[in-house]
Point group: C2
Chain length 214, copies 2
């Protein structure tokens, strides 16, 4: 298992910040300029003290009565989350999910730019998906080193995920986002995040199955 | 927030079962017929007692020395997870991610069949994506009731997610898989699962950002 990375914020707080961000964006669209922690808490079914604590991570504190300036808070979240710094990434595996991620415009908001896609299927190599050419996975090392890419996305079948991760690390990748339903054995210091669509679906289906068959 | 659903298994155990399943599948492909809990634990960096406990949920216990029959265990996991029962689902929102999920073949393994897709964009309504016709979201209620669909997938922008969820529930949907980065306010008894691609990416990026800027 990958080692625990040191984060200067708790994981649940980190996961709530994008939710605040989306809510604040919708408020901004409606012309709202300031908002209090209790108002955010009420809208998102949280408690005000938690909202205040979460937001304090970004370095912003609200003023009495008026609360937070929405524009200022949005910018602070963007900066804190590192969204304003765009990172290049490569993706290995161009099946359904790989191609979807390749064309997923929303990644731009989060500052992620997928620059190259790789596959080992000779029928796919050389083809364009979402205006990006698919390269053979044998070119991974050369490409990553030349472009100095640090982030790799894995969308290959579970049984190939470990091998792909190892090739990525050899190519200079230090952050891996793995969508294969496999547990990877990674060296210390590699940043790891599971993108668990299949597992998420399994949990939903199991709950539904149990409910319908109770 | 949605109410806690009663599950007859802990959430972490439930999330590990698909991982065991994939590992066992790869072993089966290599011609392996039986496997012990310590061997599974070693391959997946877990401890044998945990593997035994997790697997016991499926009703299967290993034999001394030989362990589990792989075929039998695979079938038990499929049954326990409800993968052998295929459920129909509808999806609302046919942007990049919606279309990707619409064409994601792997859902069949998990017993999910997306039967209809909906959008409110008149330029999309009537078009075919992955051989499925896009319907106007106004037809949601009629379609869901006629087809008796219980599962709904939300892939609309965050600001529309709550409204879509409410329309789904009015249409008879009882299980919601939400990919919009929004916290939904749902009535008691609705099964809910967050498919948090954006949040997952945010966490990865934040770790990388902190590492590169330490």
């Amino acid at each position: 298992m990958p080692s625990k990375e040191l984060l200067n914020i708790s994981l649940p707080a980190l996961k709530r910040l994008p939710v605040y961000y989306n809510f604040l964006k919708s408020q901004e669209k409606e012309g709202v300029e300031t908002i209090t922690a209790p108002a955010i808490a009420k809208a998102l079914k949280l408690v005000p003290i938690q909202v205040r604590k979460d937001i304090a991570n970004t370095g912003i504190t609200g003023k009495p009565k008026t609360g937070y300036g929405i524009k200022e808070l949005l910018r602070a979240i963007e900066d804190f989350m590192g969204w304003t710094n765009t990172y290049d990434a490569i993706i290995v595996g161009t099946g359904d999910l790989g191609r979807a991620l390749l064309g997923y415009e929303a990644f731009k908001t989060y500052g992620l730019n997928i620059v190259k896609a790789f596959d080992n299927d000779p029928n796919k190599v050389g083809k364009l998906f979402h205006n990006k050419e698919i390269h053979h996975v044998d070119e991974l090392e050369t490409c990553c080193k030349r472009l100095d890419v640090k982030t790799g996305i894995i969308t290959v079948p579970a049984e190939n995920a470990q091998e792909v991760a190892e090739r990525m690390i050899k190519s200079g990748i230090i952050a891996i986002w793995n969508f294969a339903p496999a547990i990877l054995d990674l060296p210390e210091g590699i940043i790891y995040q599971q993108g668990d669509i299949g597992i998420s679906l399994s949990v939903l289906k199991k709950k539904l199955f149990d409910k319908l068959n109770r």
